[in-house]
Symmetry: C2
Subunit: 361 residues, 2 copies
C-alpha cells in the first residue's frame, strides 16, 4: 500500500484514519447483517440506528437546544444558497448578508430570486483578506447571513455579529463546522456541506430552529422545503446512506476524542505552527488573511514569485504533502488543516516549508 498522504486538500478532505479503517473492515458486513451498509434498506432497523444517532450526536456535540431540528440533505451548500431564502422569506422583508468571498457571493446571488438583498459589510475591495469587524444587522429582516469560514481566502469569523432578537442568523459553516467552541444556538439556521470538516461529499447538514419551518410558501415543491425532511427525520425519501454513515463514524470519533473543545485545542496548535512559520519567515511566506481574521482551517499564503510557488507545491507533493496549490483567486499556496488533519501532518508541512525557504531564498 502507498504510504498515507498528508492531505491538505480544501475539500473533499482528509478523514480520520480510524474511521476509514472501520468503514473498510465492515464494508461487506454491516452490523452482522451479511450486507454492506450500502445495500441495506434505509428503513431497516440497523440503518435507522445509525441515522438517528448521527442526528443526536450533532445535537449533543454542538450543544443544540431541543427546538433545533437536524436535517441530512443533498445538493451541497450550493443548494442551500437557494433553499435558505426560499424557506426563510417573509413578504416585504429583506435579507442582509456579509460578503466575505466567493461563497458569500453565490449565496447572495441566489437570495435575489426570493426578495430584496442588502450587503451590510464586505471585504471585496481587499480581495477578501479579512472579516469585517463590528458588524451589526438591521431590525426587521427575513434573515441575516454570514459565511463562517472562507476556504478560498483563508479567513474565519472569530466574533459574533450583532443580530436583533427577531432576526434569524444564518451561518454557512461548511468549512469550519465544529472547529471551535461557539454558541451554535445563536444561529437560526446552520448549513454545511459535509466534505470538509464532517465526512465525505454527498450529504449536507442543516440545523434549523423549528419555528422557522413554517415560513415556506405553500405552493413550493416538496423537496425544496426543509419542512418535508424535518417532518420525517430526513427519511422522507432515500437519503445518502453511505455519506451519512461516514458522518456518524466521524461524529462518534469526535466525541470519543473529547468533542469540540478538544479539537479546538488541537486546531489552535496546528494553526499556530503554520502561522508562526509564516510570520517568522522574514516575508518569504506572506499570509493572505489579516491576522484578526485568520482561519483555523485554511491557511493561505504566497511566496515571492509564482515560479517559486509552483516549485514549492511540486516539491511538497514529492514529500507526500498533497493538495497545497492555492485557489486561483488568491494564487500561491493553501494548506487546509481541518479537524481530521494531525499535528504530525502540520509539523511535516512546516518542516518542509522551512527547508524550502532555506534552499530557495
Amino acid at each position: 500500500m502507498t504510504k498515507r498522504a498528508y492531505n491538505f486538500y480544501a475539500g473533499p478532505a482528509t478523514l480520520p484514519l480510524p474511521i476509514l479503517e472501520k468503514a473498510r473492515d465492515e464494508l461487506l458486513d454491516f452490523a452482522g447483517t451479511g450486507m454492506s451498509v450500502m445495500e441495506i434498506s434505509h428503513r431497516s432497523k440497523q440503518y435507522d440506528k445509525v441515522h438517528q444517532e448521527s442526528m443526536s450526536l450533532v445535537k449533543e456535540l454542538m450543544g443544540l437546544k431541543d427546538d433545533r431540528k437536524v436535517l441530512w440533505l443533498q445538493g451541497g451548500a450550493s443548494s442551500q444558497f437557494y433553499m435558505v431564502p426560499l424557506n426563510l422569506q417573509l413578504p416585504g422583508k429583506k435579507a442582509q448578508f456579509v460578503n466575505t468571498g466567493a461563497w458569500s457571493k453565490k449565496a447572495i446571488k441566489e437570495a435575489k430570486f426570493y426578495g430584496d438583498v442588502e450587503v451590510v459589510a464586505s471585504s471585496d475591495e481587499e480581495n477578501f483578506s479579512y472579516i469585517p469587524q463590528g458588524v451589526e444587522f438591521d431590525d426587521d429582516l427575513a434573515f441575516a447571513h454570514i459565511t463562517g469560514n472562507n476556504t478560498i481566502f483563508g479567513t474565519e469569523w472569530h466574533y459574533s455579529p450583532k443580530v436583533p432578537d427577531d432576526v434569524p442568523l444564518v451561518g454557512d459553516l461548511s468549512s469550519n463546522l465544529m472547529d471551535k467552541v461557539e454558541d451554535f444556538n445563536k444561529y437560526g439556521v446552520i448549513y454545511a456541506g459535509a466534505q470538509k470538516n464532517l465526512g465525505p461529499a454527498g450529504v449536507t447538514l442543516v440545523v434549523v430552529r423549528e419555528d422557522l419551518l413554517d415560513r415556506v410558501p405553500e405552493n413550493t415543491p416538496t423537496m425544496q422545503k426543509w419542512s418535508t425532511q424535518a417532518a420525517k427525520d430526513s427519511l422522507f425519501n432515500t437519503g445518502p446512506v453511505f455519506p451519512i454513515y461516514m458522518c456518524n463514524l466521524s461524529l462518534n470519533y469526535l466525541k470519543e476524542n473529547g468533542g469540540i473543545k478538544a479539537v479546538e485545542a488541537k486546531n489552535n496548535e496546528k494553526a499556530k505552527i503554520i502561522y508562526d512559520l509564516i510570520d517568522g519567515s522574514g516575508g518569504f511566506f506572506k499570509g493572505h488573511a489579516r491576522k484578526d481574521s485568520r482561519s483555523l482551517m485554511n491557511v493561505t499564503f504566497n511566496l515571492p514569485t509564482p515560479e517559486l510557488e509552483a516549485k514549492c507545491v511540486g516539491e511538497g507533493l514529492e514529500r507526500n504533502l498533497v493538495g497545497l496549490k492555492g485557489h486561483r483567486s488568491v494564487g500561491g499556496m493553501r494548506a487546509s488543516i481541518y479537524n481530521a488533519m494531525s499535528i504530525e501532518g502540520v509539523k511535516a508541512l512546516a518542516e518542509f516549508l522551512k527547508e524550502f525557504q532555506g534552499n530557495n531564498q
Copy 2:
C-alpha cells in the same frame, strides 16, 4: 464474518460482491494516492478519470446518441419530480402522465406546480396491478411521462407508448434502469435514483437531450437547472464522489459481464424461476401484477392469509433471505431481484417458498 445474505430489499439493494470487494480493498488507498477516494479533491485528476468514465460508460452501455448529456445529480428521483416539469415547461403547454402507482402520483403532484397536467391512462382502479396498454400521448405537449417500473406494485412497461415526434418522453427508470435492452434514445429525459439497479443511494442519474436544456426559465435558481451541471460535466459544485465512484465500479462490472444484453438474459431467467413457482403453486402464491405487466425487478405476491405472509417473511429471514416483506400498499411479499441479484439467490428463494408451501398448505 456473517454469511452473505440474499438481499431482496427494494432499494437500497444488493450490489455485486466483486465491486464491494474492490471498494473495500482500495478504501484507504485509491489509485495509489495514499488517500481514500472519499478524501481526494473532486478536481483531482485521479477522481476526474472515474467521473468522466462513469458518464461515458452510461452512454456506451445504453447506446446513447451524442446529443445526450449524462448528469450525476443529488436529491433522488423525488427531486426530479419537480426538476422535470421545471426544466421542461413550455408556456401554455400541458404535460401528460401515465399513472402506474405511488411514484407516478408523486411525479404528477409536483408537475402541477409548473403547469397543467393530464393523466392519459391509469391503473389506479385495480390497485395498479397492470401497465395500461396501447397508450398514446397527444401532440403539442411540454412533455410526456412514464414510470418505467413500479417497485411497490411489481409492474413494468414492456412496450413503448406512442409519442408524437415533437414531444419529449420522460422516463423515471429508477428501478429498472438497464434491466433489459431498449431504445433509450426514445426518451428525451431519463432519470433514476441509483440505489436500485445502479449503485448506492446518494446519486441520481439524469440523461437529457441537449436541445431540452434551453427551456428552463432564466429566473430559476442555479441548482434547480439541469443546464448548470450539464455545462460543467456535473462538477459545478462538489458532487457525491463516493456514490459516483461506486456507480463507476458497477458500470464497469456490467460491461465486463456482457452489458445490458447479458444481464437481460439473466434477469429473464431469474424472473421465470419465481413467476413459474407462483403460477405453479395452485393459488397458494398469488401474483399481484397482471401477467403482461410483470416486473423483471420486483416480484409482488400474496399468500392465503396475512398470518402466513408474516410467517413466511420470518422464516425466510432465518434462511438468510432478507427484505421479503411487501409494501403496505399491496401487503404480502415482495422479492426485488435487481441486476445484481444472482440466479443462485433466486433459486434459494424458490426452494424456500416451495418448502414453505409444502409445510403450510
